[in-house]
């Protein structure tokens, strides 16, 4: 079995709370079989030996850990603001490293080519300088002052706008982005990517959103995000090597990739290497 390393003691999404049944869902977490089910109406998770695993029910999803997490699952304070609509987007399985899935989520430069005429379009391809830091107090990667020109930034957007973004990596396989909220200037829409690592090269991705949007149908909001994510899927399944290379010589970043550089550095520093490749094969 691959080395789960320091990632073993973290929380991972393993199912949508609303979809749980007493019969349960058999799945994998970092190579180990687990069952996610309802036990007397409450979410429960057990491993292959029947051992009960810790459970948190938050952001519409069930979270668990194979190890002993020494801290609570991260929070998204904005999600508690009144008036937001919470959107469970549903699962999508991808044959890729869970870390590559997160890195792609942090990237804006691909918008014109992969999300053409929605999140980006030629010739508006330039990525302006933005700020990246590892916030030591919360131990999270943050990118701020990210700006990008978008033809249709959200379901609620009409026409092109320059969209502001902030990105946050709050767990090895989870990221939250904040972006301009067209119906409510001054507030941020929240879009999260929760990634369940099944193996080092297979993951299930659970996007989740907390939006200010009173106009759109819930189904349209779900489909917009499914469309965006599945556009990424064909890229994620065709990156070589499948594992995320942490050896800086393997892939060449530019200034537009500062968030990814910080993410890779943060992974390496913590030994979060399940789904990563430390040295070139």
């Amino acid at each position: 079995m691959s080395d789960q390393g320091a990632m073993r003691d973290h929380w991972y999404p393993v199912g949508m709370t609303k979809q749980l049944t007493a019969g349960g869902r058999d799945t994998l977490l970092m190579g180990e079989p687990i069952r996610v089910y309802l036990d007397n109406g409450a979410p429960a998770v057990s491993d292959g030996t029947g051992r009960s695993l810790p459970v948190i029910d938050r952001f519409g999803h069930v979270w668990t850990s194979l190890g002993a997490p020494n801290r609570d699952l991260f929070t998204i304070p904005e999600a508690d603001q009144p008036g937001r609509r919470l959107v469970d987007v549903g699962v999508c399985r991808v044959r890729c490293s869970p870390l590559r899935a997160v890195e792609n989520f942090l990237d804006i430069a691909h918008f014109p080519f992969v999300h053409t005429d929605i999140l980006g379009s030629e010739p508006h391809t330039e990525v302006q300088r933005y700020e990246v830091e590892i916030r030591e107090d919360v131990d999270e990667v943050w990118a701020t002052k990210v700006k990008f020109y978008q033809p249709q930034a959200a379901k609620s957007a009409e026409g092109g706008i320059t969209t502001d973004y902030m990105y946050r990596v709050c767990a090895p396989t989870c990221s939250v982005l904040y972006k301009t909220c067209p119906p409510k200037p001054g507030e941020w829409d929240v879009i999260a990517l929760f990634v369940q690592p099944l193996t080092e090269t297979l993951c299930e991705v659970w996007p989740w959103m907390a939006l200010y949007d009173d106009a759109a149908e819930m189904t349209d909001l779900i489909h917009f995000q499914q469309m965006i994510f599945v556009q990424d899927r064909s890229v994620l399944e065709n990156q070589l090597p499948a594992l995320l290379p942490l050896d800086p010589g393997m892939e060449i970043p530019t200034r537009a990739d500062m968030t990814s550089i910080a993410y890779r550095r943060w992974l390496k520093r913590h030994g979060f290497t399940y789904g990563a490749q430390l040295v070139a094969a």
């Binding site: 699962v91 030629e122 599945v230």
Partner: protein, 224 residues
């Protein structure tokens, strides 16, 4: 025309794509197929007892098979897409419309299994899909020998539209298209159609756009 749609469904995309290519406006109703299972709701089952998507509703008619919807739209707005009325072309269109169902049941089911965790015997599905893809490759290579780019002749028909989505999305179900050069060229011809729209998993032909300038290599040459 009201069209009950799911953005990730290749069968729904057949209809969206065809409508876009012939310039037919559809009144789209998004159905929460995944994760909501809305296609199995009472309202949707009343419309389509089979519980499948897509569904098209128009003046007194409800159609629940995507190939029938293509036939209806073509007859309504763009009859040239039905093929001409020679016995060979007419039969070829019918043949490939039926073949499209084999793709749905094999490559489509493999994709639903691999991507949305639908149940299925994945090895058997991929084997059936490979048989179908080989058959398509052989037919398209024969078409090329006749100087034709499409399934039923030298112009696209609803048969091409019906087969295209599940073929183009086959890699989603663990079926690489590397072994099929004629399929690749046929997909390219379809992606180049006027009015073509993509769906998630199918990229548009970025080569149809000019490279935005100024180009650094041109500048460099000028400097040299």
């Amino acid at each position: 025309m009201i069209f009950y749609d799911y953005i990730l469904s290749p069968s729904c995309y057949r209809v969206r794509l065809f409508a876009a290519v012939i310039g037919r406006r559809l009144d789209l109703r998004a159905v929460d197929f995944h994760p909501g299972q809305e296609h199995r709701s009472d309202a949707m089952l009343a419309l389509n007892p089979a519980g499948t998507l897509p569904v098209l509703k128009d003046d007194g008619i409800v159609l629940t098979e995507s190939t029938a919807i293509l036939t209806y739209l073509a007859a309504h707005d763009a009859p040239a897409w039905l093929g001409d009325d020679t016995p060979v072309m007419r039969a070829r269109v019918a043949q490939w419309l039926a073949f499209a169902q084999r793709l749905t049941d094999s490559a489509g089911a493999a994709r639903a299994h691999d991507m949305l965790l639908a149940p299925g015997d994945i090895d058997a599905l991929r084997a059936e899909a490979t048989t179908a893809l080989r058959e398509l490759e052989a037919a398209l290579s024969a078409a090329r020998r006749r100087g034709e780019s499409f399934l039923a002749g030298n112009r696209p028909t609803i048969a091409d539209i019906a087969c295209f989505p599940h073929v183009a999305l086959a890699p989603d179900g663990g079926l690489p298209l590397d072994p099929y050069p004629s399929i690749r060229l046929w997909m390219r011809a379809l992606r180049g159609l006027e009015g073509f729209i993509e769906m998630p998993g199918i990229h548009r032909l970025h080569e149809l756009l000019p490279e935005p300038g100024p180009m650094p290599d041109v500048i460099r040459k000028e400097r040299a």
